[in-house]
């Protein structure tokens, strides 16, 4: 019928102080939003592991009994190195250092590939020791622990281990492929001090994958 004058004013006047948006450029926001969904994806895998382990502790072995902790600790070291080279590549292009960008990107790709390679070797060794993902094969003859001891753990151990670390490895592999694209673009001079969004985006993804590994290494290998 009638209306409050102040309501009317607020209704009629655009708010000049209002800034729409996150104050973050759209591609970066999109990458963050995508990473949130990755958090939930790893939650379903890691959460299932935590729950299965809690329900069946006898299926899992103490650290170092089945899994090779020193080897993976080295691998963790490499992944952390690749994170620092990635961030150095980003810092380089922020200062307009084009050569630095290319070199640090190349270093990141090489160290990332090394991580995947070592993981493949780890899988090969574990698989041949009889540590397999398929439940029916888990108790197959010949399966031995690291010290040549008896069968340790149960089928859920192999299943969860390969699923979680395998999907992490797949993420690293995808990261290496994307980094290679970024490097090719960098070689063509696509990034400048003023516009280096591609480098920042792949960096976010790469550090996220590193972050997931920090959690995986702790709960799969060490606890």
């Amino acid at each position: 019928m009638t209306t409050d004058a102040s309501t009317l004013r607020s209704m009629m006047i655009p708010d000049p102080a209002y800034e729409p948006g996150m104050k973050v450029y759209t591609m970066k926001l999109g990458m963050w939003v995508f990473l949130l969904s990755e958090v939930m994806f790893f939650t379903s895998l890691i959460g299932s592991y935590v729950i299965l382990r809690f329900a069946h502790p006898d299926h899992f072995a103490a650290p170092g009994v089945v899994l090779n902790v020193p080897l993976t600790a080295f691998n963790t070291f490499f992944l952390i190195c690749s994170s620092v080279t990635m961030v150095k590549a980003f810092a380089a292009i922020q200062q307009g250092d084009d050569t630095g960008l290319k070199l640090w990107l190349l270093a990141t790709i090489l160290i990332g590939s090394l991580f995947v390679g070592i993981q493949a070797v780890e899988y090969y060794i574990l698989y041949h020791e009889g540590f397999v993902p398929a439940a029916a094969d888990y108790h197959a003859a010949g399966r031995q622990g690291m010290e040549g001891g008896p069968i340790v753990g149960g089928p859920l151990y192999g299943a969860t281990f390969y699923t979680m670390t395998g999907f992490h490895g797949a993420h690293v592999t995808i990261g290496v492929i994307c980094l290679t694209f970024v490097l090719i673009r960098a070689l063509r001079g696509a990034y400048t001090q003023n516009d280096h969004r591609g480098v920042e985006l792949i960096g976010l993804y790469w550090h996220f994958v590193d972050l997931v590994w920090i959690i995986l290494f702790t709960i799969v290998y060490l606890i």
């Binding site: 104050k23 939930m40 620092v84």
Partner: protein
């Protein structure tokens, strides 16, 4: 891919030279500490707690400095942390089952 010059200039108006190498050192030290701690003969609870605390700090350092969350607007913090309650709800609720 289009260039968006105004944008990057706006977002990276000043360059935050984060202490990248320092963080790197901290991550290495924490990793070594974790591996060492894991082989102490501690009760399972303390083992798990210590390791989770260290892993939490490592993850936080990566997010804050390498992912530059420290230099981002507060609203991005809210966005980035939003799934964490859901993670906790799922795991805690299902754990009470077993």
């Amino acid at each position: 891919m289009t260039t968006d010059v105004q944008h990057s200039g706006h977002a990276e108006g000043e360059i935050h030279e984060a202490p990248y190498m320092l963080i790197f050192g901290a991550l290495i030290v924490l990793t070594l500490a974790e591996v060492g701690y894991a082989f102490l003969s501690l009760p399972k609870f303390w083992l798990a707690l210590g390791l989770i605390v260290m892993a939490f700090w490592k993850a936080t350092l990566v997010a804050l400095y390498y992912m530059h969350l420290r230099f981002e607007p507060k609203r991005l913090w809210v966005l980035a942390l939003s799934p964490l309650p859901l993670v906790v709800i799922l795991i805690v609720a299902v754990l009470t089952e077993f």
